[in-house]
């Protein structure tokens, strides 16, 4: 726990200093890494911890992107637009969660896959609001500077990681993991599974909403295809799996590795790098189901200490 905090503080310090050390392209690469970390942690919260695999989290990203862009155009400051985007995504997640979280296994995955498409079609067909396939172009005058976006996304990524860390160590996290292991048995030992799942789902929708808005400010142009992006769903899944689902650092590591691999491969193998992603996905699922973090040697907690604690207590009891 303490070592996690230390590592987190180290990474955060590095990330805070980064803009002073790199040029703006490198900064924009880092910005995307941070965005991916935030998204991966969100996905981790619902799918990594409860085992309900969402193939449609991009819908919250898309909703956030459109909310952010439209509000910005309407003259709302960027930070308020971002907050509103997060709120709207969260508000949307509540009914969606109520409806879909009763479905198990592939049904849930398919329902959310469909939901993403519904989101995309809505953005396409509601021309009056979204300008349809024209997309929304934002002018630089309205946009926050790159560094500001960077720090905002750093905040999101840190918040997401902190949040996952807090949940992991909490009673709530324990309940979520119990749901993943055996939902029925969890219910039977007093876990209100419905409430927990919905809470996790709603919480996991909030950050993609904010990230979507910040993405729109960074990219300056969005259209339905580029924000309700099925490939984004794949990336969230792959990052978390690659790193290790249900862990604190897995998504961080996974997002960094994935973006690193992309940076290294897209220039060399333009069309191939997505195929390589697919290969990676299969290999990880088949041979490293617990992700890269599982490679670090699992040192069992010193058994002696625990049993001593146990025995001491035993001695104290009459």
């Amino acid at each position: 726990m303490r070592s996690d905090l230390a590592l987190g503080a180290l990474l955060l310090a590095l990330a805070i200093l980064a803009p002073a050390l790199v040029n703006s392209y490198q900064l924009s690469v880092l910005l995307q890494v941070l965005m991916m970390i935030a998204l991966a942690q969100s996905w981790n919260l619902i799918s990594g911890m409860t085992g309900y695999v969402s193939f449609g989290h991009a819908v919250f990203f898309g909703v956030g992107a459109y909310t952010g862009a439209l509000l910005l155009l309407a003259g709302v400051p960027w930070w308020a637009a971002t907050a509103a985007a997060a709120l709207l995504a969260t508000a949307l997640a509540l009914p969606v969660g109520l409806l879909t979280l009763r479905l198990r296994g592939p049904y849930f995955a398919i329902a959310l896959l469909g939901l993403n498409e519904v989101g995309r079609m809505t953005a396409t067909l509601w021309v009056g609001l979204t300008q349809g396939g024209d997309g929304i172009a934002l002018t630089p005058a309205l946009l926050p500077p790159l560094r500001t976006s960077y720090y905002a996304l750093l905040g999101l990524a840190a918040l997401a990681t902190l949040g996952v860390g807090a949940v992991l160590g909490s009673r709530f996290g324990l309940e979520l993991r119990a749901i993943r292991e055996d939902e029925g048995a969890a219910e039977m030992v007093g876990v209100n599974t419905t409430r927990d799942k919905i809470l996790a789902f709603v919480a996991s929708a909030c950050l993609p909403g904010a990230a979507g808005a910040l993405y729109a400010f960074y990219a300056s142009y969005i259209d339905p295809m580029s924000v309700f992006l099925p490939a984004l769903n794949i990336q969230m899944v792959v990052m978390v799996l690659l790193g290790g689902r249900g862990t604190l650092w897995g998504p961080v590591l996974g997002a960094t590795l994935l973006m690193g691999i992309r940076e290294l491969t897209w220039a060399q193998f333009p069309a191939l790098h997505l195929a390589l992603l697919g290969v990676l996905m299969i290999l990880v699922v088949l041979f490293l189901p617990d992700g890269v973090v599982s490679l670090r040697r699992k040192r069992p907690r010193p058994a002696g200490r625990v049993s001593e604690e146990c025995r001491e207590r035993g001695g104290a009891e009459p």
Binding site: R102, G114, A275, G278, L286
Partner: protein, 292 residues
């Protein structure tokens, strides 16, 4: 309004049913695999695209008519299906559903992007079947390629159904689908049957691809739209229910055509997605929703 004239609606309905037959052929294979091994093959539509490109290559470089390329494509895809089953699917059949979703998703990304690498994102077509049948008395036009594709799809789907229903191997497939353990003690090699099933489904996808190549322009990433439609079809017809998928396919085609006619083509595309979300109806699919 002129669009709601009976003649127009009839015309739309016929076109929709023909398109729906193609969905049915594709979805039946997906459903078959799901029924036998509880694996949702997210790469199913990519197998279809392989079929379409086989038809295109055969036509472009050997001048082969798509209807002649059909058996070739089915055979090649059957083989590919066997190989994929042996290499990938057999390893994940008994693992949690997430695993199979992810592995087949990975496979689909690989196939799409290799396709883009080899064939580029250019749209191709195999314009060999041309023209239409004009039924003047009914004031009805039936596109020839669509009619052929629709007919071939229905015939193949029914043929596979008959195969499952009456042949020895088909019965073995149904047996494995219902009770794998009992099938085993009847002397059925379950792994082999799974291979045949996957091969068969791949061949059906390949056939759908060949038919698709005669109707639509396509590129390696065309499959993505179809897999979602397949899910919609499975949900209408019932997961794992073969004839249900046939019916579901026809219904989806019909619904798309009518919505396309009355509203717009954009809305027609949304039909399938809206149906996908139907999965969340309160009782859940197959009434399994609240079972703990």
């Amino acid at each position: 309004m002129d669009l709601l004239q009976p003649g127009v609606l009839f015309q739309l309905a016929v076109g929709g049913l023909l398109a729906g037959a193609l969905y049915a052929l594709l979805a039946c294979g997906l459903n078959l695999v799901f029924g036998v091994m509880r694996v949702i093959n997210l790469a199913h539509a990519e197998l279809m695209m392989i079929g379409a490109f086989i038809a295109w290559l055969a036509w472009r470089y050997a001048g082969l008519h798509p209807l002649l390329a059909l058996p070739l494509a089915m055979l090649l895809l059957y083989g590919l299906g066997l190989v994929l089953q042996r290499l990938l699917i057999e390893r994940i059949v008994e693992r949690e559903e997430l695993t199979s979703l992810l592995v087949t998703y990975g496979l689909s990304i690989i196939l799409v992007n290799l396709g883009l690498l080899v064939f580029s994102a250019d749209f191709r077509a195999v314009p060999t079947l041309q023209g239409a049948f004009y039924l003047e008395g009914l004031d009805l036009v039936i596109s020839k390629p669509r009619a052929v594709a629709g007919a071939v799809s229905v015939v193949l789907t029914l043929a596979v159904y008959a195969f499952l229903r009456y042949s020895r191997t088909g019965k073995a497939i149904r047996g494995v689908s219902e009770h794998p353990e009992v099938a085993m003690i009847c002397g059925i090699d379950v792994a082999r049957i799974r291979g045949i099933t996957f091969g068969l489904a791949a061949a059906m996808a390949g056939a759908a691809g060949v038919m698709l190549s005669t109707i639509y322009s396509f590129s390696p990433d065309t499959g993505a739209d179809f897999i979602l439609k397949c899910f919609a079809v499975m949900i209408i017809g019932g997961m794992g229910n073969f004839l249900g998928a046939l019916l579901g396919g026809l219904l989806l085609g019909l619904a798309e055509a009518l919505v396309g006619g009355v509203l717009s083509t954009q809305w027609a595309e949304a039909v399938a997605y809206l149906l996908l979300v139907l999965i969340v109806r309160p009782t859940g699919l197959l009434g399994q929703a609240d079972a703990l």
